[in-house]
């Protein structure tokens, strides 16, 4: 299913052993991408304080779009607002978004979100600061500012290699899993962690196949289905309308017209 182009594939490596939960990444992301004060493109996932005093531990890691190799959200988007660019970045066009939230349901990592206080809420998600990269910056805002280099950015292959290198160099420091390597059919964001990812609050994503294929069956089928339903409903509506017009007691027959036609 992988649709890798010949172009440079970008990726992240995020190391939970280094994250100090300072949230510089979150603020940097909000400023860089003009994110509204009520929504976010990045979270801090964490274990919380675990254990009983004084035997305590706490781990955190920033969490944002994984930029799947075969993104479920893209396959679920009926209007083409979400797409994958040639660098493997899952990008988003808010001029096309209709706020249907299919991508929110499709994403196994629960990444796309929206500010529900907005009048016309649109999807908010990480796009690897694609505009910033296009301007010539070498890293997205989160990775550029991280004071402890818990987030690093580069070529996808290099990120994976670095994850392996750290795990080999420090045996026992990390659990034996690179989150993002196989999840949802493989992603461009790799996590290494001293504690199991379930404990960090990461979505499990046990299915290794991306559901994108099945999504496509639905999303590609949807317009046909929708058109069929619309035609059918219009037919019913017209029939009823004619009947009601025949019946001279109707005051305002067009009241529900809009809804009917949708």
């Amino acid at each position: 299913m992988t649709k890798k182009s010949n172009k440079l594939q970008y990726g992240f490596l995020i190391d939970a052993s280094r994250c100090i939960d300072c949230r510089a990444c979150m603020v940097a992301c909000s400023v860089e991408n003009n994110v509204s004060m009520k929504s976010t493109r990045i979270w801090i996932n964490g274990t919380g304080v675990v254990g009983d005093f004084p035997n305590l531990s706490r781990y955190t890691a920033p969490f944002h779009c994984m930029h799947c190799e075969d993104p479920s959200c893209v396959s679920a988007c009926t209007v083409g607002a979400l797409s994958q660019d040639e660098n493997g970045i899952v990008v988003y066009d808010d001029d096309r978004c209709i706020g249907c939230r299919y991508c929110m349901y499709a994403c196994p990592f629960e990444v796309p979100n929206m500010d529900l206080t907005e009048q016309f809420p649109l999807i908010v998600k990480c796009d690897m600061c694609v505009a910033r990269l296009d301007e010539g910056e070498s890293e997205p805002a989160c990775a550029a500012t991280c004071p402890t280099d818990a987030i690093i950015f580069g070529e996808q292959e290099d990120m994976l290699a670095e994850a392996h290198r750290r795990m080999e160099e420090h045996p026992g420091r990390y659990v034996d899993r690179i989150y993002g390597e196989h999840e949802n059919g493989g992603t461009s964001t790799y996590y290494i962690s001293p504690v199991p990812f379930e404990e960090l609050g990461f979505p499990l994503a046990q299915e290794e196949e991306s559901p994108a294929h099945f999504n496509r069956l639905v999303t590609h089928g949807t317009p046909t289905l929708a058109a069929g339903v619309a035609i059918g409903m219009t037919g019913i509506y017209l029939t009823i309308k004619r009947q009601k017009e025949d019946d001279k007691n109707i005051d305002n027959p067009v009241h529900d017209e809009g809804n009917m036609e949708e």
Partner: protein, 732 residues
């Protein structure tokens, strides 16, 4: 209810400002024009301008991304040793400090009662005339000592002090005694330096005495510690709280508050009695080497176990591990250590342990006993006459009550108390610049009482913080992205803070405000600079560096011939590290690091702890919407066992009472704290309704803090406040 300013509004506001500028101005704004001439901005006004952060006192270098007269993003400057290309969350949020909708953009004159928040807008001439008139009246009627001046660590402070000394007042309140007096006094007496630099390049063993570096983020140092941990360095962290630093430490020791000193003395006992330090080597550089074993003999790990609650074996093991790491070990000097009256002795023990490890003496050692800011660079300054002689006693008791407190540190809390008592004389005016005594000082009720004693209060700030809210005149300062400040020297380089955008409204730089005021006070001779750029040019004159060169790169590295010397001489009376201090003995204090029993709470009370969070700087940033967005709700931490006994549950509203005050706050039940402690994030519970984001959030710690002053260093013992907690009935 918090008034949230959405980013979309932010952009809208931007276009309004931009079009207003376009209408009113026929020449391009000078900042953009200068930056374009230097090649920093293109013809469309887009580009990056180097400057320096001011969201805390660490002074990271930054690159401000400017688009058509607006700053849209801040990046860490890779060439600056404090940022190394990174910025912390506060640094990243800096443009929201500048574009805060609550900015004060014209001078304000109070029209209602103090604290009502009723002001009218005024011109600079009217406001400055009014301030000068009152300051002259006070000097004439009561003498210059009746004016109190307050400011906090900032780059324009030399000119603030210039105004204060030229006016002739000895009364100067800074943050120092509320922060690092114990550390600075102890290191001055022991090493002859104020604050040793830390070097993490080869560190193997770090002891942090409450130094919460992962939350009190100092970008380069936090980064260096993190790298050391990643490399495998051991970190032993003493704190009654499981902080984010505790989470990264090799060992977290939830020590009983105020007893860190006993832990450290026992370490000295083990290292000296087992002769783990190289005494021949230490003998050359440390005073009292012959007697130290004997002097420390009673401070056994077993003795310390009784006091600290830390097992003797553990203390002894850590002492041995520390000694084994030799000069690759350090005990971090910290800022405020345990915040008890014995903090000075704690810092003396820290200084001693560093001396014993030899880390300041060896090349590559972890503690650097020289002032890294000086680096042999001497900046010029405008010429000026000598200051008038001051004969009045200082209200803060230095030196007549506190003989060993360095003059520049002072004892701010004592100064506040003298304003209230009127002893030895009454102060009548308060001139405050970039300070917020109402939040900064312990016991807010008392500080408000001191404010009420004043005939006239002036506050210079960028928005209405609590102190400005109670002022008679508020003078709007340009934000750190809108102004010049005097130059800053670090690591052999000279750095500049320069405007990256035009000041909004009528906001002006501190350099301009002090000069204007100086002229109105008849002190023009002390302010011999035309404008900010002229001041900076005079600073650069002796070095033959142009301001343009500095503006373009953000820094210059002048060629300085550093005298090479192998000789190690400390700036103390003996020229050695004074573990034994004759100066202390002469002043009637113990010449050795000595145990002092701290006060302890009753059974029904808790120690009240406060401490930093990564998203805020003291009480200065709670109105920043970006930090507000990503902060944790400030609640009172309590251990579940302590909560259970009191029938309290998570998210209960509780009433916290100390000897001097009471607040209501939501409870956070957590394992991350000792059962005998509660913790609250400082700097919330603001009084000023001029802060629409920060007002009404959390509770204020200053209300609860009791004023206790260490007699040697003058430091405020911030954790020596004990509180009772019970279920609250209603919101404040």
């Amino acid at each position: 209810m918090t008034n949230v300013f959405s980013r979309r509004d932010f952009l809208k506001l931007g276009s309004i400002t931009a079009s207003a500028l376009a209408l009113g101005q026929f020449i391009p704004p000078s900042v953009a024009k200068a930056a374009t001439e230097l090649g920093l901005l293109d013809s469309n006004g887009n580009g990056y301008i180097p400057s320096m952060c001011e969201m805390c006192v660490w002074r990271c270098g930054l690159l401000a991304k400017v688009r058509n007269g607006r700053v849209v993003k801040l990046e860490g400057n890779p060439d600056h040793p404090h940022s190394n290309g990174k910025l912390c969350p506060r640094g990243q949020s800096g443009l929201m400090n500048t574009y805060d909708p609550d900015r004060v953009l014209t001078p304000l004159i109070r029209v209602g009662k103090r604290g009502e928040g009723k002001f009218r807008k005024a011109t600079w001439d009217e406001a400055l005339d009014l301030v000068a008139e009152n300051m002259l009246k006070i000097r004439e009627q009561y003498g210059p000592e009746a004016m109190v001046f307050s400011s906090t660590h900032n780059l324009s402070q030399p000119q603030f002090e210039n105004l204060l000394y030229a006016y002739g007042s000895p009364n100067y309140g800074t943050q120092r005694s509320l922060c690092f007096n114990a550390m600075v006094t102890a290191f001055l007496l022991t090493y002859g330096i104020e604050e040793p630099a830390r070097n993490y390049d080869t560190v193997e063993y770090v002891i942090l005495v409450g130094r919460n570096l992962m939350e009190a983020v100092s970008t380069s140092e936090t980064s260096a510690l993190s790298k050391a941990i990643d490399r495998g360095a051991k970190v032993v962290y003493l704190d009654p709280r499981f902080t984010k630093t505790a989470a990264k430490a090799t060992e977290w020791i939830p020590i009983r508050p105020g007893t860190d000193l006993a832990f450290l003395l026992a370490m000295i006992n083990v290292i000296t009695s087992e002769e783990l330090a190289d005494c021949e080597f230490v003998r050359e550089h440390i005073t009292g080497c012959d007697q130290i074993i004997d002097v420390m003999k009673d401070y056994t790990p077993e003795w310390a176990e009784q006091i600290t609650g830390v097992p003797a074996k553990r203390i002894a093991r850590i002492a041995r591990e520390y000694a084994a790491a030799k000069h690759n070990a350090m005990v971090h000097p910290g800022w405020r250590t345990s915040n008890f009256i014995n903090s000075f002795q704690t810092e003396r023990a820290i200084a001693t342990l560093n001396g014993l490890s030899g880390n300041v003496l060896k090349p590559g050692g972890c503690l650097v006993a020289e002032n890294p800011e000086a680096s042999g660079i001497t900046l010029g300054k405008p010429s000026q006459p000598p200051y008038p002689r001051i004969s009045a006693l200082r209200l803060d008791g230095v030196p007549w009550k506190y003989p060993l407190v360095p003059f520049k540190l002072g004892v701010f809390q004592e100064l506040r108390d003298a304003i209230i008592s009127g002893e030895p004389y009454q102060a009548h005016g308060w001139f405050i610049s970039r300070q917020n005594p109402i939040q900064a000082l312990p016991d807010r009720t008392k500080t408000l009482e001191a404010f009420a004693k004043m005939n006239f209060i002036t506050v210079i700030d960028i928005s209405l913080n609590d102190s400005a809210w109670f002022a008679d005149v508020v003078l709007p300062e340009a934000s750190y992205l809108e102004r010049y400040d005097p130059l800053y020297v670090a690591d052999g380089k000279i750095f500049i803070r320069q405007p990256v955008i035009e000041p909004q409204g009528d906001a002006k730089s501190a350099l301009w405000i002090y000069k204007q005021l100086g002229e109105r006070l008849g002190l023009s001779d002390f302010f011999q600079y035309e404008d900010e750029e002229d001041y900076l040019r005079q600073q650069l004159a002796p070095l033959g560096i142009s301001l343009e060169e500095l503006k373009e790169k953000g820094f210059v590295e002048p060629e300085i011939e550093k005298p090479e010397t192998d000789e190690i001489v400390f700036n103390t009376p003996s020229g050695k590290i004074e573990v034994y201090s004759e100066t202390l003995a002469k002043n009637g204090f113990s010449p050795w690091p000595t145990w002092e029993e701290p006060a302890a709470p009753n059974d029904d009370e808790f120690y009240l702890l406060t401490g930093k969070v990564g998203q805020h700087t003291q009480f200065a940033t709670q109105n920043n919407q970006l930090l507000h967005k990503y902060q944790d709700e400030p609640r009172l931490w309590m251990h579940p066992d302590a909560a259970k006994v009191r029938g309290l549950e998570d998210n209960d509203l509780v009433e916290v009472t100390s000897e001097v005050g009471k607040v209501n706050i939501m409870l956070q039940v957590t394992q991350a704290i000792r059962t005998d402690c509660v913790y609250m994030t400082p700097g919330f519970g603001h009084l000023s309704k001029g802060w629409t984001t920060g007002y009404g959030v959390g509770a204020n710690d200053s209300v609860l803090h009791v004023t206790y002053t260490d007699p040697i260093s003058g430091g405020q013992a911030l954790s020596q406040t004990f509180v009772k907690v019970r279920k609250g009935s209603s919101h404040d």
